[in-house]
Amino acid sequence: MSETFIAGAGMVRFGKYPADITLENLAVRAAREAIADSSAAPADIEAVYMGHVFGGPVAGQRVAVQLGLGGLPVSNHENYCASGATAIREAWIAIKAGLYDIVLVIGAEKMTDRVAGGVMPDPADLDAINGLVMAANHGMSARRYMHDHGATREQIAAVAVKNHAHSVHNPYAQYQRPISLNEVLDARIIAEPLGLLDCSPISDGAAAVILCSKAGLAKLKIGSAPRIAGCALVSGKVVSSTSGLNDEDVSRRAAEQAWNISGYGPKDIDLVEMHDCFTIAEIVRLEGLGLIPVGEGGVWTENGNTSLGGKLPVNTSGGLLSRGHPVGATGVAQICELTWQLTDRAGARQVEEARLGLAYCKGGTVSGTDGGSVTVLMVER
């Protein structure tokens, strides 16, 4: 089974792009950055994997042909907000199986011209009839977390303050200015107790990576590159009335799979790219993974343990809250950040001596379960 390396990473700045900047355009730009970073020639690339949700049929093929990669095996991967990470996992599987030596993975999304007011479950899902916007799930999670652990509203808001402070140093982030705790607390309410700045924005963007086998690295004359230590994927299970609302069993199961694949454990992780689609989500998911003690996520955030320079830096990129959240691109952007961190190219947001990074995505909801899809990807120097 071949090991898998990240030979190149590239992305466009996330944000709101005008109508004439299309999904294809964003994806092509990100892919070109990743290809250039790897010094691959188009002819070296053997397959293309594309993660997206709202891109329509065969978006990956539309992008591949614009890159001069027509004719290659191209596949499209949808796992809602974990689509990009799922595309990476599929590429990792193919390289491990020995099918290819050099592949391109793209995550791309154009949302601002097609999603308004917040994302919802599939209309056929029972929860959609009841008006479950994603923010409502996390509002209920936050209220229960405060009830169970005595956490304060300020501690939850501190996640947004921290991630925005990080993104000041990320040229690819949608928002690059610091925000104050009061700004988060005073923002208009979306789903109680969460306000606008507790929620990740609706964004456009694309990110891409070149994944290689050992032979692929040699072909590209790359001496060393970050290695993918494992890609875990699980889906939600039915919850019962006796489980805690913030049990995060789906995160626990994803972590267990990641530890089994990689041979690493929670104590080995130096930095995390966490799916902070909402402030409270960062806290409960870190706890679910076993990276921080249950009930202490609020205190950890408030004390700076998850800040750059803290015990376990989380979302040095700014996370979804401030890098932005073009849903299909997010998982790939997380791996771009880990790649830059693990090759000492993260500039002012560099985590000193970072050796092993973990990226977590959670995509979608299914009525009656603890989630749609969850991915945990691990990358090591």
Binding site: V133, G139, V238
Partner: protein, 131 residues
């Protein structure tokens, strides 16, 4: 004039007589909501139709103040835990609190093309309901 009829918005979810509908699995004995062909827990097709208890308890709640245009804000959503093991999401009327008992209430939600009212479920805190 044609009679205006009351119908459930989805007859796998509620019945006008029995409230919320579910199944109990004869293989693993666990309950699922709403009615469906297979047990959600073990996949068995040996299931029987049952109705959920009339009351549950609030696990958590929120008031939604921003939503896509077709939804009228603000509205309250609750996660409700039932003694049969089901955890059910729904809208709520009036005040709710974590741990408070709520009752299932049916109400006309929409009107179909023939003018029939389509009924759905929501929750209401028990004390307030009894007033």
């Amino acid at each position: 004039m044609t009679q205006i009829e009351k119908t459930p918005l989805r007859d796998d979810v509620i019945s006008l007589e029995d409230g919320l509908l579910g199944i109990v699995c004869t293989a693993c004995r666990r309950h699922s909501f709403p009615q469906r062909l297979l047990c959600l827990h073990c996949g068995s097709d040996q299931v029987e139709n049952v109705s959920l208890p009339e009351q549950g308890r609030v696990c958590s709640w929120t008031v939604v103040r921003q939503a896509p245009e077709h939804l009228k804000t603000p509205y309250t959503l609750v996660t409700v835990d039932f003694e049969d093991g089901n955890r059910v999401l729904g809208a709520a009327e009036g005040n709710v609190r974590i741990g408070s008992p709520v009752t299932v209430e049916l109400y006309p939600k929409t009107v179909d093309e023939s003018g029939n009212s389509q009924w759905w479920y929501r929750f209401r805190e028990v004390e307030e309901f009894n007033e």
